[in-house]
Symmetry: C2
Subunit: 342 residues, 2 copies
DNA sequence: CTGAAAGCGCTTACAG
DNA sequence: CTGAAAGCGCTTACAG
């Protein structure tokens, strides 16, 4: 029982013109339409409360004006922010968006991508899990419009938009050093699935140690599954020489760290400096406020849409590239030894 | 350039059967199909990497297996949680979801609903703004499947799922009283658009004052636009008799309150007790941890989907109702005078 | 300036 | 057990 079963034929009859002419009207091709005809059609549409059926239109035009977005894990606040930007930008361009959350499971991701293709989306923006090389490859081969976000997939030639992760870690380490913290550890979620940002952030940590001429201690690199992370943090602080500061690789590792700190009465800032990647919503109101390395989520989302829409534009087919965006640091109290006064 | 331009005709030719038979296969109607035919079709589908075009299917079947969700304001964490539940539940039932955010603007809401109808969604779940009575009414009249969430619309006969807001405030007030706070104020976002939960929460505050035999002070009721809220909070604390505790009506008012508190060095718990409606993600890691009144977001979303899907089921057309869900309190340190020790 | 006709890719009653 | 045909609601080249 749809709200409106009026079709273009009804309107045509009511206005005493042909379907073709009504279609011209709907698509605003008034070039050759008599004023009087136009008015009649307008009136008929109003009277019948007609609304065109977009499914029929899509079938004929072979375009749904819909983009599928498949996000590896929507729990990261960064993902949410990028998605908002993507939606806004797509909306501006009269595209609808269908969001799917793969929950970090390649099988789910695959199912979603196939469903979206079945629904004839015009393009895909994917935060890829790392488990569907074959599918990505076939999308690339068939020249289907696709853009990756947050993670690239090696051996693939697809437009990708992501953070300069190495720079992000260097920013964090440099800032902590400048604030008097020397022994710096990194904490991030599991590397099991070879997720690009995590890998690059660990790599960035290593190169930062070298660049700033600090000893590289493997026991300062904690890349753990969420379920065992608190335990790992515990071990970190039981080391003979516990770290003076922590770089948290993302919001999930941050959450675990904050829980640990709260339970063990550790004072962030005074006892241990903290910088975390990603500007989370509560960074400013946390006590003490958290120094973050912000990703330009809005720009990243916008760029992804831009790259995708570009593919629909005629023949200008650029060579796919990886686009790196610069992080920025938002300095608050958590990285200040005298900061946590509250 | 879709990934796969193979159609049912191609498969039919390849398998040397008719389109009808392929269609039977796709829809798993094997009743009268010879084993051998089935195998031939299966093979053809694999070889051609055929994927059915759902747009064509939808046109024929007059059903898109898609539900539109229009949320008044996605910035409320409660909305996000409910939406996740809705998506999960719909997914289980093989429906896709299209989410739209009305940004509290009735005009946007209207545009989205119309777009969704044009895209032939099978039903709508709406967190209604309060500005489209006419549209809601016409949806109701045309018997289009729709469920409201979080807010009801008066004079309308539509299934609605929402919190027992009065109970929520009573829980908060009672808890604060039990913990020794006497003068309790309520802080919430603007009532300008007559948004149901806010109205009911203010109303709940009034009835709580009566129930617990407390004097009702109008200057303890702060219902303000976000842009002037901090100022309003300031005024609250400059009163001759400032409140000892605050009930925050939602996560946005909470944010403003926490900012104020942080800037003015007020100690939550010791100086002013706090209970906030909605279980926000950082409640547990805030310093001090925040006592919240949780909405059963998951159940609310699930119920909304259930009610909607029920409408597709044959003839069992129940009379539309309002379903109220019970809040629960999650006690943490922000409502404890001796709590904020950290 | 407007209409008749074909076709987008499916599904489904019906005939055989 | 399988196929031919009609039709879902649009759009568009083409004819007039």
């Amino acid at each position: 029982m749809p709200i409106n079963k009026t079709t273009i034929s009804d309107v045509a009859k009511h206005a005493r013109v042909s379907k073709s002419t009504v279609s011209q009207f709907i698509n605003e091709r008034f070039d050759y339409m008599r004023e009087e005809t136009r008015e009649r059609i307008e009136k008929a549409i109003k009277e019948l409360n007609y609304q065109p059926n977009n499914v029929a239109r899509s079938l004929k035009l072979k375009s749904t004006a819909t983009i599928g977005v498949v996000v590896a894990n929507i729990l990261h606040s960064f993902s949410t922010q990028v998605i908002r930007a993507i939606e806004d930008k797509l909306n501006e361009n009269d595209f609808s968006t269908i969001i799917c959350n793969a929950d970090d499971e390649p099988a789910k991701e695959k199912k979603y991508i196939e469903t979206l293709l079945g629904r004839q989306v015009d393009g895909l923006i994917v935060f890829p899990t790392s488990g569907n090389q074959g599918l990505y490859k076939s999308l690339e081969d068939s020249n289907f419009p696709i853009v990756f976000v947050d993670r690239y997939v090696s051996d693939l030639n697809v437009d990708t938009v992501l953070l300069d992760n190495e720079k992000a870690i260097h920013l964090a380490v440099e800032h902590l050093l400048n604030n008097g913290y020397k022994d710096i550890a990194i904490l991030t979620t599991s590397l099991e699935n070879a997720v690009v940002p995590r890998l690059e952030r660990i790599q960035g940590y290593r190169s930062a140690m070298e660049r700033f001429e600090l000893p590289l201690r493997e026991d300062y690199i904690k890349s753990l599954d969420l379920s065992v992370m608190k335990n790992g943090i515990s071990k970190l602080f039981q080391l003979e020489k516990p770290p003076q500061a922590i770089v948290s690789g993302n919001d999930l590792s941050l959450m675990e760290f904050l829980k640990y700190v709260s339970e063990h009465n550790v004072k962030i800032g005074a006892d241990v400096g903290l910088v975390t990647i990603d500007e989370i919503p509560y960074a400013g109101i946390h006590n003490p406020p958290l120094t973050t390395i912000a990703q330009p989520a809005f720009e990243i989302g916008e760029k992804a849409v831009e790259l995708l829409l570009h593919k629909f534009d005629s023949n200008k087919h650029n060579q796919p590239k990886i686009y790196r965006f610069d992080p920025s640091i938002i300095v608050r109290k958590s990285s200040e030894k005298a900061g946590a006064k509250l």
